[in-house]
């Protein structure tokens, strides 16, 4: 403090900061990236451990015997599904009833804002069927959920069969202290959204569903099961939920512990764990796993049916059976035993899962990076923005001697005019609002005038508006009279830097991955853009590092990491579908990534673009 209030030392310090600003920024950026990449290195990570006492030391026995019968039920379900051509509601109701559950149904309809071409749906009408196993001597205050989606085609029949088998087996057991809800949801996430909103009687996205008749109190945990073959080679755990929310780490620990105990291969992000952390390939494997998690989390979309539970503070995960060409196979009985064990332990919970971490990244199933370790990586990037802001502040404060040159003696040098700052800010935000609202509003018009489908119309409109924003500086200048001053762009840049810092900081607190990826691309341009840099080169760099292009790189990177590389053409198509999915996720489930990008990040980038073309 004394250091800063002493004018001499202060001057020395600011001089140092201004002089060394650029090198410090470069150092910070490199350090941030290096720190992030180092997170996947095993000695820097922590081994997972069970924090919850109620699930740790208690022993449970898994005795589920009826895997074969469950598969038979699954086949029966498949036959009925084929016969009805959708969800066999009556059969499910009857079967669940005969297993001694209280059965209820919920019907829902949903009209998508525009057709979803990935899943080929527009007007969605469906029914959820759920049965409640009432725990003896429990007052209906707590519940656990096991769900299996009723998917199109031949998918997930085994999951429904196993769900019904488990229901029958659980019914005959006496140690349940929480009601268990067995849910078969139609139209995957849309059905799940309808059910959850019905259960909690909220309506966040304007869906239309019939109210639920039976409830089991507050839901403590949920698992969603996806199983499409009779035998599997490994189980994959999916954690990423809506808006990048993650379930409590103890849920992942529980899954891992039981996989170890029962001897099932388990993966996360579809990647097995490797023991050779000290080799390059071992490290790159861990880094790939972590990068996949980061990309998935940053997308903000629910990556399984569990993803929507997290909004309601219900810890949930999806378990996906994978059948590859490995030798070692696991049968349904074993999966049943695994689930039984997990539910027995969840049943033992005295409190909601809260002991372990909610913010983490996982380079493998047995290792995790907690928030305390990964936040510095983001902090190093964010500090660049502050350093540049400080630099600008100092420059602005020091500019009065500059005006002594006699450029503008009469004009007050410290006030470049509120208008000249406000105009670009307002205009770029208006563009953001247009980007947010117009694509869906104008789809009909676009379809009438151009030979495109609705979905294409929405996506192309979005891209068109996004590109049109590049012409913004001209529009701004038309509104502004006179020349922009040197002061003007500095103030504008100061505003833009602080704005971006606040935005990214808040985003990273909620969804670290999204914040970090955006920081990675936006911080360099925010730091070094001035009107005096070579225009063409800077413009090219800015466009290449804009949020839209970042998304494109992420699509390619994701495909690369998943070991399904795509050609440029396919990548572009994928990019288009990702945009439409993002808009749909926002409209259907309330994902916030699209509005965040359209309403805040993109305008911020436009401000920087404005600075580049400052006259």
């Amino acid at each position: 403090m004394g250091l800063l209030s002493d004018p001499n030392r202060r001057r020395a310090l600011t001089k140092l900061l201004t002089r060394l600003n650029a090198p410090i920024c470069v150092m910070c950026y490199l350090a941030g990236v290096a720190w992030f990449m180092g997170l996947a290195f095993e000695p820097f990570t922590l081994r997972t451990y069970m924090s919850e006492n109620a699930m740790g030391s208690t022993m449970v026995e898994e005795r589920f015997p009826a895997g074969e019968r469950a598969l038979a039920t699954g086949r029966e379900f498949a036959a009925h599904k084929k016969k009805v051509g959708g969800m066999p509601v009556d059969w499910l109701v009857k079967t669940m009833q005969s297993r001694g559950l209280e059965v209820f149904t919920q019907s829902f309809t949903r009209k998508l804002p525009f057709p979803d071409e990935n899943k080929e749906r527009y007007m969605v009408r469906g029914t959820n069927v759920y049965g409640i196993l009432r725990a003896p001597r429990a007052p209906r205050t707590e519940a656990l959920v096991l769900s299996a989606p009723c998917s199109e085609g031949n998918n997930n029949n085994q999951a429904v069969g196993l769900l019904l088998g488990l229901a029958q087996y659980f019914r005959s057991q006496i140690h349940w202290a929480k009601d268990i809800i067995f849910l078969v949801n139609e139209h995957d996430l849309i059905g799940m959204q309808a059910w959850l909103e019905g259960y909690h009687h909220t309506n966040t996205t304007g869906g239309d569903w019939s109210p639920l008749q039976g409830r089991g109190g507050s839901i403590q945990a949920a698992l969603s099961l996806e199983l499409s073959s009779d035998v599997i080679t490994s189980l994959d755990l999916v954690l990423e939920g809506l808006n990048g929310q993650l379930p409590n780490l103890d849920l992942a620990n529980l899954f891992y512990a039981f996989c170890q105990k029962i001897g099932v291969l388990c993966t996360i992000q579809g990647k097995l764990q490797r023991n050779d952390w000290d080799t390059t390939s071992g490290y790159s494997h861990a880094a790939q796993t972590m990068m996949l998690m980061v990309l998935k989390q940053a997308s903000g979309r629910p990556w399984g049916d569990h993803g929507l539970f997290l909004r309601y503070h219900i810890e949930a995960a999806s378990i996906r059976g994978i059948n590859s060409f490995r030798q070692y196979k696991t049968d349904t009985t074993t999966i049943g035993r695994l689930l039984e064990g997990m539910y027995r332990k969840l049943n033992n919970l005295l409190e909601r899962l809260h002991q372990s971490y909610f913010f983490y990244l996982m380079p493998s199933l047995s290792r995790f990076v907690s928030i305390g370790y990964y936040m510095p990586a983001f902090g190093l990037l964010a500090v660049i923005l502050l350093l540049r802001a400080l630099d600008l502040w100092v420059q602005l404060g020091a500019s009065p001697p500059g005006t002594e040159d006699g450029v503008a003696g009469g004009v007050q040098p410290s006030s470049p005019g509120v208008l000249s700052i406000l105009t670009p800010v307002v205009i770029s935000h208006m563009t953001g609002v247009a980007l947010y609202t117009l694509p869906i509003l104008s789809q009909e018009m676009a379809v009438q005038h151009f030979p495109v489908s609705e979905t294409e119309a929405v996506v192309l409109t979005a891209i068109a508006i996004y590109t049109a924003g590049l012409a913004l500086p001209h529009n701004t200048h038309r509104l502004l009279q006179g020349e922009g001053t040197e002061e003007g762009w500095r103030v504008l840049k100061l505003v833009a830097l602080l704005y971006l810092a606040v935005l990214l900081g808040c985003t990273a607190l909620i969804n670290f991955s999204l914040g970090f990826i955006l920081a990675l691309s936006l911080v360099p341009i925010a730091a070094f853009i001035t009107p005096h840099t070579p225009k063409a080169l800077s413009a090219a760099i800015m466009v290449l590092l804009s949020p839209g292009c970042t998304l494109l790189y992420c699509v390619f990177l994701f495909q690369e990491l998943q070991e399904t590389p795509v050609s440029l053409q396919d990548g572009w198509m994928l990019f288009l579908s990702v945009i439409s999915q993002g808009i749909l996720d926002h409209a259907l489930y309330g994902s916030l990534v699209y509005p965040l990008l359209a309403l805040l990040i993109y305008p911020c980038w436009l401000l920087l673009w404005n600075i580049l073309f400052w006259k």
Binding site: M1, S98, R134, P136, R137, H200, H201, G217, S218, R352
Partner: protein, 669 residues
């Protein structure tokens, strides 16, 4: 008393009126929805009329009664009358079936070989009712009734006890208790699967007490009483304090004789979190005259009783009329258990006493004046559904909860009941394995849940179902909500069939932080065949950190809401029952059977409050505060202070002079 009579009369006329209109309607066969709507309105008007017509002279003051022109006073008396009526129907309506092989129950009573009854008129009766339920479960309900022929309402000190437990007798006289009702329940009664229970009770512990009007400081007496009871029953009743005690104005009226209805003397509390187990059962059993040594109580094997789907034990003390001039104390101990026999043996449905309790009956309690086992055989008149062995010649009919039921009666005081083996082990074998759980449609039932997400606000939804096809009836809804859920009472909305349903009586007592809970009582008219939804929003309070329970992330409980109603009876609904009854008895709807009193408890709620992370509160708070303070201070300082540039380096002489000045302590040059 006169007022009560008058009220009953008015009520009977109203219901008779309704019945007639209904019958007319039925005859015309008009069942259009519009018609129904109109009818509902008519009913509402009539009921309201009847309610406001009655005299209100003996009405207690209603505390804070909001936004109501006139609190209809009659509901108290309706309920009182109903309670009385129900008692009558339960006790005295045992009608023997006129068939050749049926004995007179009352006759068999006298042929006992038990010791002569005690000289005073103390009495003890025990009975067990077993009802096979729709869902395949079995409901066993024990009831023990001890009658104590003493009259210390007048203040005479009593120190001689025969059958009545001394511990309770002392409690009654010490605290001047007029009525005491306590129940311990583990589990939730599943109305949709099991129908109505004989005696409803909410999950956890419930205690309500009427004190005599001689008590001056009711709160002190209540506090001491709860502590004493806590000791007697080994329960955490001592956690009852002012934050969970309320004084309902209408929902809980005295069930015994007496006419004090001033709610000042009533205290009601529920502990939804209370867990009931053997340590509560043992003291309860000890209150029985025979203990658990003989009689029906031998069946109470705690290992089996707690291996069930539902367990509820209760105790009711109230003054009753002994003969026409004197009163006596009645102690009723009830134990209700539902066994889930379906799950335990793979779909084969049969039960026996031994299977349920792992004991059989060998003798009645020698002190009991009557000791009976009833088995509900209503659904099985010809024995086509199940087979009951040993068969009993005794049949008994009773109207229970508005439904005419037939029971097989086993009289334990009759040695012949035990047969050759000297033990009674009833066995019921179902003929067809029924598949699945068919949901029942009980005439009245309620459910409750918390809506919304996040830890800031929420909404409590209470749904009350009236499944009666054509009758509307009023219900009293009682909600007790702890203070840490701050109810926004202006958001209270009652809707039925999509329309606003204005309660005709609202009694709301706002909460005081850390002192008293919210109390909300409403009289709501339920239209026929409808769901009435009561919603109210709340905000979750942030507690002080010492106020959190040791397991704050489990959530906080909100007790069940209580729905009390006079429900139109199923018997009255059934116009085709003339085969069983003589024609002359069925023309005008009979008063006793037209409706019955019922209380329904909804499920308790578990609500999460905003909870700090208790693992390292101090570290986090201190560190954050320090960082924020330092950062903010410096930044603020830098941004606001203006700094003067010192004149460039002074000369050597001046510098030396300054050093000297500093050494001398005088201001610098």
């Amino acid at each position: 008393m006169l007022a009560v009579l008058l009220c009953v009369l008015v009520y009977v006329f109203v219901t008779a009126d309704l019945q007639e209109t209904n019958q007319v309607k039925d005859a015309e066969g008009q069942t259009h929805a519009a018609e129904e709507e109109r009818q509902w309105e008519a009913t509402e008007v009539e009921t309201n009329l009847s309610l406001t017509d009655t005299p209100s002279d003996n009405e207690a003051d209603h505390g804070q009664t909001y936004d109501l022109p006139q609190p209809p006073p009659a509901k108290d008396q309706i309920q009182e009358a109903a309670e009385e009526k129900r008692r009558d129907s339960l006790e005295t309506n045992l009608v023997d079936v006129p068939s050749d092989k049926v004995d007179h129950v009352s006759d068999t009573k006298k042929t006992l070989d038990v010791p002569p009854p005690p000289p005073a008129k103390d009495q003890f009766q025990e009975e067990l009712v077993i009802r096979p339920l729709h869902s395949g479960d079995t409901y066993a309900s024990f009831q023990f009734r001890t009658l104590w022929d003493t009259d210390f309402l007048r203040g005479s000190k009593v120190s001689h006890y025969q059958l009545f437990p001394k511990s309770l007798g002392q409690v009654i006289s010490k605290f001047s208790v007029r009525e005491l009702h306590i129940s311990f329940t583990q589990g939730y009664w599943r109305t949709m699967q099991w129908g109505q229970p004989f005696l409803p009770s909410p999950p956890g512990a419930e205690l309500w007490v009427w004190f005599q009007d001689t008590v001056t400081d009711v709160d002190v007496a209540w506090k001491e009483l709860t502590n004493v009871l806590s000791g007697i029953f080994c329960a955490s009743l001592n956690f009852i304090d002012s934050t969970n005690t309320v004084q309902p104005s209408a929902s809980f009226k005295p069930l015994g004789v007496g006419n004090v209805t001033n709610q000042r003397f009533l205290r009601y509390a529920v502990l939804p979190r209370e867990i009931v187990c053997t340590e509560n059962l043992t003291p309860w059993k000890k209150l029985l005259p025979c203990g658990s040594k003989t009689g029906l109580a031998v069946l109470m094997n705690s290992e089996k009783l707690f291996h069930s789907s539902f367990h509820s034990q209760a105790l009711h003390i109230r003054p009753v009329c002994q003969d026409f001039k004197s009163t006596a104390w009645e102690l009723r101990q009830t134990l209700n258990v539902v066994f889930d026999l379906h799950s335990s043996d793979q779909g084969k449905r049969e039960w026996s006493l031994f299977k349920m309790f792992s004991r059989t009956l060998t003798e009645a309690c020698p002190l009991a004046s009557s000791s009976k086992v009833y088995v509900d055989v209503t659904d099985n008149p010809q024995g086509e559904l199940f087979e009951l062995s040993p068969a009993t010649p005794l049949l008994s009919q009773a109207v229970v909860l508005g439904d005419r039921r037939t029971y097989s009666v086993y009289d334990l005081t009759n040695q012949a009941t035990f047969g050759q083996t000297r033990s009674l082990n009833m066995l019921l074998r179902w003929r067809a394995a029924e598949s699945g759980v068919n949901m029942l449609r009980p005439l009245l039932h309620g459910e409750r849940y918390v809506a919304g997400y996040g830890l800031q606000t929420g909404e409590i939804h209470t749904l009350v179902y009236n499944h009666h096809p054509y009758r509307a009836f009023p219900v009293l809804l009682l909600d007790t909500v702890p203070w840490y859920l701050r109810l926004y009472i202006h958001t209270l909305i009652v809707t039925s069939k999509g329309r606003d349903n204005k309660p005709s009586y609202i009694h709301y007592q706002p909460s005081k932080d850390r002192l008293q809970p919210h109390l909300l009582e409403m009289l709501v008219q339920l239209p026929p065949n409808s769901v009435t939804e009561v919603t109210v929003q709340f905000e979750r309070a942030l507690l002080k950190w010492m106020e959190y329970t040791p397991d704050p992330n489990h959530g906080f409980y909100v007790g069940s809401s209580v729905i009390s109603a006079l429900v139109p009876s199923v018997v009255a609904m059934d116009t085709n029952s003339t085969q069983e009854r003589p024609l002359f008895s069925s023309f005008f709807p009979c008063k006793e059977e037209s409706s019955y009193f019922m209380r329904v408890y909804t499920e308790p709620l578990l609500v999460n409050l905003p909870t700090p992370d208790f693992s390292m509160p101090y570290n986090v708070i201190c560190l954050t505060c320090t960082v924020v303070a330092v950062g903010y201070g410096s930044l603020y300082n830098l941004l606001t202070r203006t700094f003067q540039v010192e004149e460039p380096s002074p000369g050597l002489a001046k510098r030396l002079a300054n050093i000297i000045c500093r050494l001398r302590g005088v201001p610098l040059l």
